[in-house]
Every structure is written in C-alpha cells, then in structure tokens.
C-alpha cells in the first residue's frame, strides 16, 4: 500500500462519512423500518469504477468503522451496517469482475443485497424472522434509490478523465 492510496482512501472515507452524516438528517416519511437512501454509496460505486476494488473495499469498511466511532457506537446499528455493506461489497465486486455490465447493475444489486444482509443480521440479533415481511418493500425502494445513485454517479464519472491519464499528468510535471 503506497502513500497515494492511503491518502486517496482517507479522502473518500471522509467524504462518505460526511455524506452519511447529512443523510441522517434527511427524514423520509416512509414507515418502513431501516430504509435509507444510501447516498454514501455514490462514493463507493465511484471509487470502484474509477480506482478499482481494493480502494472500494477499503473505503466501505473504514467508513462503517468511522461512522461507528463518531456517531452510532458499536451497537446494533454497527452490526446491521456491517452486514449490509459486507453483502453489498461481495455482490458488487463479483459483478465488477465476472461481468461486463455497468455501474447500474452494480449499484442496483448492491442496494438489494445491502437490505438482504441487514435483514439477515437483524434476524440474528433479534432471534425472530418476522422482519422478512418488510424485506420486499425495503428491496424495491433500495432498487429505485440504487438506480438513481448510479445515474448521479455516471454524471460524475463521464466528466472525469481516465485514471491513468491523471497519473501521467502528474509525472510529466
């Protein structure tokens, strides 16, 4: 791990933590437990398709840790977030490597598996399976938000020069 990567990961961890903080202020009037927009995932998808999977995994898990340290503590919220992000990272990385599909399916399937992971973890914690009644609604809403986030992420990505080009500029200087 070189210094450039350390700096890059910490930069994006900071960015996604701030986004996460502002997102927690947005109240969505949908009476489904656990639904969030997942705005911080824009950063994740961007990093995955711009810098590669190592940075993506680093940014996601350090963000979960930092959010727990700063805001929520290592309680139920941390476990739910960890399980959701673990599932999302697994499926998104699989899609990134095994297929030629774009950020849209990575984001949408990541969002679906994020809610599946959270619901499974909640079942483990609360020792009851009733929460599964909400999983389909949670998954439909996550699909929609995942698609919208991919649209936003695409707007950013198409305006960026290719990563190798930026490193070339730096060396030429």
């Amino acid at each position: 791990m070189n210094i450039e990567r350390i700096v890059r990961i910490s930069l994006f961890v900071a960015l996604s933590t701030v986004i996460h903080f502002f997102e927690s202020m947005i109240v969505i009037p949908i009476p489904i437990p656990g639904f969030k927009l997942g705005l911080a995932n824009i950063v994740g998808v961007f990093v995955l398709f711009y810098y590669g999977y190592k940075d993506y995994v680093g940014v996601t898990f350090f963000r979960v840790l930092l959010v727990a340290i700063l805001f929520s503590g290592f309680g139920t919220g941390f476990l739910l977030s960890f399980a959701g992000n673990l599932f999302a990272v697994l499926i998104t990385t699989l899609i990134y490597f095994l297929t030629r599909s774009s950020i849209f399916s990575a984001s949408v399937l990541g969002a679906i598996f994020h809610s599946i992971g959270q619901v499974l973890m909640y079942m483990l914690i609360s020792q009851s399976v009733y929460i599964i009644t909400y999983l389909p609604y949670l998954a439909i809403l996550s699909m929609l938000s995942g698609f919208l986030l991919a649209l936003i992420c695409r707007m950013v990505l198409i305006r960026m020069p290719e990563y190798k080009d930026t490193s070339k500029i730096r060396r030429k200087r």
């Binding site: 437990p33 030629r100 399916s105 999983l135």
Partner: protein, 156 residues
C-alpha cells in the same frame, strides 16, 4: 482529454445490465409473493401478541386481552405487571424514551407513544396482520401478532 472507450462502456447502461436488473426484479417479486401468500397473515381469537426487548420475550398474551395503552418502562425494580398494563424491561435498560406505549384493541396492534429520532414505529400506525412486526429499532422493542394455530395440526 479523451476517455478510454473500454472504460466508458462500463458507465453506460448496456445489455448485461438489463439481464441483471431483471434478475433483481425477479428476486424482489418472488420475495414479495412469498411474504404476501407464503406467510400466514390471518388473525383470529387464538392469536397472541408477543413483545420482545432485544430478543428477549417480555410479553406473550392472547390478542383478545385489550390494552389501552400497555406501557413499557425502564423503571428499575418493577419486574412487570401485565395485569395493570405496565411492563418493565428489567435489567439493561438501554432505551431512548422514558416509555413506549402499545395499544392492543380490536385485534390490532399499534405503537402510540415512543421516543426515537425518526418516529418510524409510531408512524407505522395500526397493524392488523399476523407475523407483521412493528419494530422500534432504537428502543429494541418489537411488537408482533403471532398466530400459533397454523403451526399445530388440525386434528389435535
């Protein structure tokens, strides 16, 4: 600066995305059909109301016993007195509000009062289906109607 065409392809919606998103939609629809038709949602006189705190059952009584409201407190010392509509979570009282109030009337359940940042479980309103929980995540409280009758064989 010119974009690498190979990289640019992965930013645009393509044919493989259609397949994967359709797979996702299929997954979600099968989950929806399972929860709508695969799970027993009927409530009858033999149903029970179960309230759990952090996975521990603190209340399990027939739904015909009306409570308006049932108060869950974190008061120390009281071990719970369901006859007088008071429940105490007892040991680790890690709880946001001073009380959570549950209303059990007309075979329905509802959380009428609680303290949490987004008030999700009181906004959820009245629940009249079995196996559909009301979850107060910051308070670790879960209220659900359970229908045990479906689990037992009919001829017993």
């Amino acid at each position: 600066m010119k974009l690498n065409s190979k990289a640019k392809k992965r930013y645009n919606f393509n044919f493989q995305d259609v397949i994967f998103i359709l797979l996702g939609i299929f997954l979600v629809i099968s989950l929806l059909l399972y929860t709508l038709f695969g799970i027993n949602r009927n409530v009858n006189e033999n149903s029970f109301v179960v309230i759990t705190y952090a996975g521990t059952e603190i209340y399990n009584r027939p739904i015909t016993e009306e409570k308006d409201p049932l108060v869950i407190t974190k008061q120390m010392g009281i071990t719970g007195d369901p006859e007088n509509n008071i429940l105490s979570i007892g040991r680790e009282f890690d709880f946001v509000g001073p009380t959570v109030e549950v209303r059990i009337v007309d075979m329905t359940i509802q959380v009428v009062q609680e303290d949490s940042p987004h008030k999700i479980c009181s906004n959820q309103g009245v629940v009249k289906y079995a196996n559909t929980p009301i979850i107060c995540e910051p308070n670790y409280i879960q209220v659900v109607i359970v229908d045990y009758s479906s689990d037992k064989p009919d001829n017993m």
